[in-house]
């Protein structure tokens, strides 16, 4: 157990003058699950990328199995038994699961790909972990969670000795996380070392043996998990004590209805759903993967067309046949996948911030005023505490938390009356999460209707006033946050209970 398999010492790495890692050390012992903790930008992913050959360290050395190594590429590292599952998915969307798993290593018969044995091999891997995926499924038809699992299988298909998982659970639901952890246990039993990067504290307790804590690119300390408490870990990560994970609620729920959704339905996607959103309220929407929460939000906003039903903001019905209509009606939607739907990463903060509101920074002829843009950006950069040297910074150079703040800032500038946040804290560190929670509360207190879609139950319970629970396109529960708990929500999310079933059958 105590034999060291891998050690990294004195690792430093700078990118274009920014010191990402400063004299960092890390050591991994045989058969352990080792967590890397730290806020975003603390250098966890960068350190692992220097290990597997994505980056070359500027200084320092890596000893693996008693030999000094320097991998030239990911493939090199994989052949040596070190695989990494990246935060971003790296699958090829139009190929099947089996083709992705064996990509660039397809079994050949006389130079022709042996599809049958490839699929058989893939099926054997998939059996270890029941996720309802067939080897012949095309990857782009799978959910994000399933795709992530396929990534894991791909790593497992190598004779892996060290498996690095970068935020593997960020797209998974509770049930899938359970399955993932079962798999982690199995791998551990087989003697595979696992390096686990995650922001979720409660996951650590369940699977990890040892943790190393980073802050701002430096090594802080490492501990046996049994020797340290969660509060101590957080204190070391942020350099301060976080006594409360959620801010005190200041907004008061009133009876004034800001938005009402009436029998909104998309055929074959979700059944008719009705609910009201009140002034001052934060409405949580939760459910397992495939609950169609995002689809509901997109349809309310107008990104997808509603087949039936109405969305009424204030007294006006929103036509919602395009996002432009939704925005005109006062609705904003902050999508789950920022890079895909939320921001144009190759454009500047300024251009992103004013994208939905160019009418506010231009004259009647459509000429954009730089001064007006700058004024707006400066206001929201300050308000959102976005860390950036200038408003011309490309969004791709910002951290996940700061990107999210840019997206929120752009909708604040638009003066939206209703803001729908889809997984607002995904991939964001503890400190930045707290800031976003505070902001949600502040928005609600100012009279903005806030809807928060989230898979993290503590977050839903900690932030919402009411919770809508969905299951596979159905609304199964509407719960008062003060009178419910995680177990009850899961009952509705899994369909054990359904408070609407009776009513609908009568109607």
């Amino acid at each position: 157990m105590s034999e060291t398999l891998l050690s990294m010492t004195g690792i430093s790495k700078a990118f274009a003058g920014v010191q990402a890692l400063k004299d960092v050390q890390f050591s991994l012992r045989k058969g352990e699950v080792h967590a890397l903790m730290g806020e975003n930008g603390a250098g966890k992913s960068t350190l692992m990328k220097t290990l597997i050959g994505v980056h070359t360290p500027d200084t320092g050395e890596i000893i693996y199995k008693g030999e000094k190594v320097c991998f030239d590429s990911v493939l090199d590292a994989q052949e040596a038994g070190i695989s990494m599952i990246f935060q971003e998915l790296n699958l090829i969307p139009h190929l099947s699961v089996a083709e992705n798993i064996f990509f660039a290593r397809e079994p050949l018969v006389n130079g022709i790909i042996d599809k049958r044995s490839m699929e058989a091999e893939a099926a054997r891997l998939l059996e270890m972990f029941d996720i309802g995926v067939k080897p012949s499924d095309i990857v782009n038809t799978l959910s994000v969670a399933q795709q992530q699992m396929v990534e894991i299988f791909k790593a497992l298909s190598f004779d892996v000795e060290v498996l690095i998982m970068d935020e593997p659970t960020s797209a998974l639901t509770e049930r899938e996380i359970d399955k993932l952890f079962e798999l982690v246990e199995k791998l551990k039993a087989k003697g595979v070392c696992i390096v686990y990067i995650s922001h979720r504290m409660n996951e650590l307790k369940r699977i990890c043996d040892h943790i190393t804590i980073f802050r701002d690119g430096t090594y802080v300390s490492d501990h046996k998990l049994s020797d340290i408490t969660m509060d101590e870990i957080i204190a070391k990560m942020v350099g301060r004590s976080l006594d409360n994970h959620f801010p005190e609620k200041t907004s008061v729920v009133t009876d004034e209805v800001l938005m009402s959704v009436k029998s909104a339905c998309r055929y074959g996607v979700f059944d008719p759903i009705s609910f009201d959103l009140k002034r001052g309220e934060i409405l949580g929407i939760t459910g397992l993967v495939g609950a169609k929460r995002t689809e509901l939000a997109r349809a309310i906003f107008g990104a997808d067309r509603l087949d039936e039903g109405q969305v009424i903001v204030g007294t006006k019905q929103v036509k919602a046949s395009s996002p432009a209509d939704g925005i005109a009606g006062g609705i904003a939607y902050l999508s789950e996948d920022r890079k895909l739907n939320g921001i144009a990463v190759s454009m500047s903060i300024r251009e992103n911030m004013t994208m939905p509101s160019t009418d506010k920074v231009s004259n009647a002829a459509g000429v954009i005023s730089y001064a007006a843009e700058k004024a707006a950006c400066d206001t929201y950069i300050k308000k959102m505490e976005i860390k950036t040297p200038t408003i011309e910074q490309l969004v791709s150079n910002l951290s996940g938390g700061n990107q999210q703040k840019v997206v929120i800032g752009k909708w604040l500038f638009r003066d939206a009356k209703i803001m729908i946040f889809d997984e607002p804290t995904r991939g964001i560190d503890v400190g930045a999460k707290y800031a976003i929670y505070q902001l949600l509360d502040e928005l609600a207190a100012q009279g903005v209707g806030v809807i928060m879609i989230s898979s993290e139950l503590p977050e839903v319970l900690g932030m919402s006033d009411r919770i809508l629970v969905m299951k596979e396109g159905e609304l199964t529960g509407m719960l008062d946050c003060k009178k419910t708990d995680q177990e009850e929500i899961m009952h509705y999310a899994t369909g054990v209970k359904n408070m609407y079933k009776g009513q609908r059958e009568v109607a």
Partner: protein, 343 residues
Amino acid sequence: MSEKQKQMLQKLAALAGLVCLFIAFAISNEYFFTVNNLMTIGLQTSTIAFIGIGVTLPILTGGIDLSIGSVVALAGVAAAMLVNAGAPVPIGMMFGVLVGALCGTTNGVFITRLRLPPFIATLGMMMIARGIALYITNAAPVSGMPESFSTLGNGALFRVVEVGANGFPIVKFPGIPYPVILMVFLAVAFAFVLMKLRVGRYLYAIGSNEEAARLSGIKTDRVKVFAYMCSGALAGLTGVVLASRLVTAQPNGGVMYELDAIASAVVGGTSLTGGVGTIPGTLIGAFIMGVLRNGLNMNGTSFFVQQIIIGGVIIATVAFDQLRQQKKTSKPKPVSKTTKAPK
């Protein structure tokens, strides 16, 4: 160094390349750097510049326009036929531009409404427009337009001519050809559209992340139709200018012009994946091609060799650009050479 400065540097690199070309040709041929020849270069480049500016817009959105060459021919033929049918010259010319705009708008509608890939929609239009041009003219050139039809293509501003001692006119200053003036005007106008107008911002946004742009409330379909309409209209204008210059409209003209247009945009730093590109860049790209053709002609290089050289220049500039961008992300050499991984 900020992104703005980097972009500036890139533009300067292209400009420096153009200047080098000028210097090289000026040294190799004494007539190259004369007022007369410079005006000729301007005139020759103006047509590539029109369509280059035009195609930059759809390319910015991540699209392409392959119908330009055919639209050039159709618009020229349409303008010439209308004038021959008795319409006043300005009306006929405007009709030509309108025909181009109509073709472009059709492209845009096909792409946004029928969800056709831009490559396919404009490929279809390329064949349709060419077919119409050949059909309505029976494949014969249209000529016999009144003298005033040639003014746009052949006239010049500030032309100074003196009558010499022997009674023959001596051209003191050849004047600035109208197409060159038009080119400057269009370049300034479209640069303004892209940098300052909302629709310009939207073009970049669509090219960078179309879904994010749509979810920000941008009417992406309309903006895209606008881009293709502009490309078509400028192709139409090119057709009219060419017809005017030759006082003949060729239904077979303009073949492969779309590729010249795309090449000038790409050489000028426009990315075919969308979101990156500027009008000054495209203009520099057009001039690099125009200067190359002119200079090589003056040095007596055969047309076939010219093709080879221009093709090489396109590949080299874009390859250089790619290499420069890769440098940023590729890993530097390791400080200490260590042993390979144990297998």
